[in-house]
Assembly symmetry: C2
Homo-oligomer: 205 residues x 2
């Protein structure tokens, strides 16, 4: 895209009540795992983010009209599971169904084991998973942000030695909105870690 | 990655105080724009997420030790700017410098215009930008989540007609951590929107 064009080549759009907007996607998909009344529930979440390094806090935002919202509200723990792109059909099925109606793990053959430190299910297929103790919940508009303290990480052995994701081994699952999925172009990966910083006073912050 | 392997092929890692973890990346980069005491400031943010559809709320998480944290705390407005992958060097420079020491817009030739509805700078290069009125701020560990009510969107005209991003026209800028960047593989894009939902009671939620 030629962004040398003047900014006037942009439309100005006021958000309209009831409309949803997706141009700030793609977002990495996280699948939330929770155990409630003896039944597991798995729900994909595109609105998730790190919230703190120290302590390690991670947030997942869930719509108030979702079944998952109710079970997360009543649970003390949840997991966050990251899946390779080739699972996009499973993730879409998990997203376009409701734990109020079916047992998603049975219906979609999701294999899992209970967490070691948090009472929530960890998906076997995840290349990376976070066991979280629910720390707090904040209502923002029509969603609630559930904040988890990460108590244990599951990392595929082939990935664990590198500090960042090996995109030769994993193709992370990204969501574009409206049931569209995409992954990364590993050939595009660029590293600038050996360039000097621009800080004048501190070498690194 | 062969995720048919049993889950025992994963390492279990307890988060260590002071360590940072990046296996839940890539995350889309958003550049936060703010105006403070007559000077603009631009800072990339990988920890950003949608928070509500209705009203349209968007959150950016900023480390408490950052200059941007101070100016966001004192400001009533900010912008969120999304840039094509080819700007990764600029974004890295914006992230590895501090508005406490330099005027980043001057130093790195960032052209911008002030928002129409929020008193914060919108980057000319952005294919999509949100003007936000700061609504609230929540401290989570070593970061603060600043919550913005989106009052105006700037959308590149060539993208505005489609509800989701046209990945033939834009290569979104994703951050892997530790100064590594990557973008999407447009050939991988998959659409499942015409498949039936699995809901039994509701056709769509």
């Amino acid at each position: 895209m030629d962004d040398k064009k003047p900014a006037e080549d942009r439309d100005l759009v006021e958000p309209v009540e009831g409309e949803k907007y997706f141009h700030y996607y793609p977002q990495l998909v996280a699948v939330i795992g929770v155990m409630h009344n003896g039944k597991t529930n798995f729900a994909p979440c595109a609105w998730s983010t790190g919230l703190s390094y120290n302590p390690f806090l991670f947030g997942v935002s869930v719509g108030k009209d979702r079944f998952t919202h109710g079970v997360l509200t009543e649970s003390d723990a949840f997991t966050v599971n990251f899946l390779d792109f080739h699972h996009f059909r499973l993730v879409r099925s998990l997203g376009r169904s409701s734990g109020a109606e079916i047992d998603k793990a049975k219906e979609f053959n999701v294999s899992y084991a209970m967490g070691k430190k948090a009472a929530a299910p960890v998906m076997d297929a995840a290349y990376y998973a976070l066991e979280c103790r629910k720390q707090e919940a904040h209502c923002f508009g029509d969603h609630t942000l559930f904040v988890g303290a990460v108590v244990l990480m599951h990392v595929s052995r082939s990935l664990a030695q590198a500090p960042i994701l090996n995109t030769e081994l994993v193709s992370p699952l990204l969501y574009l909105g409206v049931d569209h999925y995409i992954t990364t172009d590993k050939a595009s990966r660029a590293c600038l870690k050996d360039l000097p910083f621009h800080y004048k006073r501190d070498k690194r912050r």
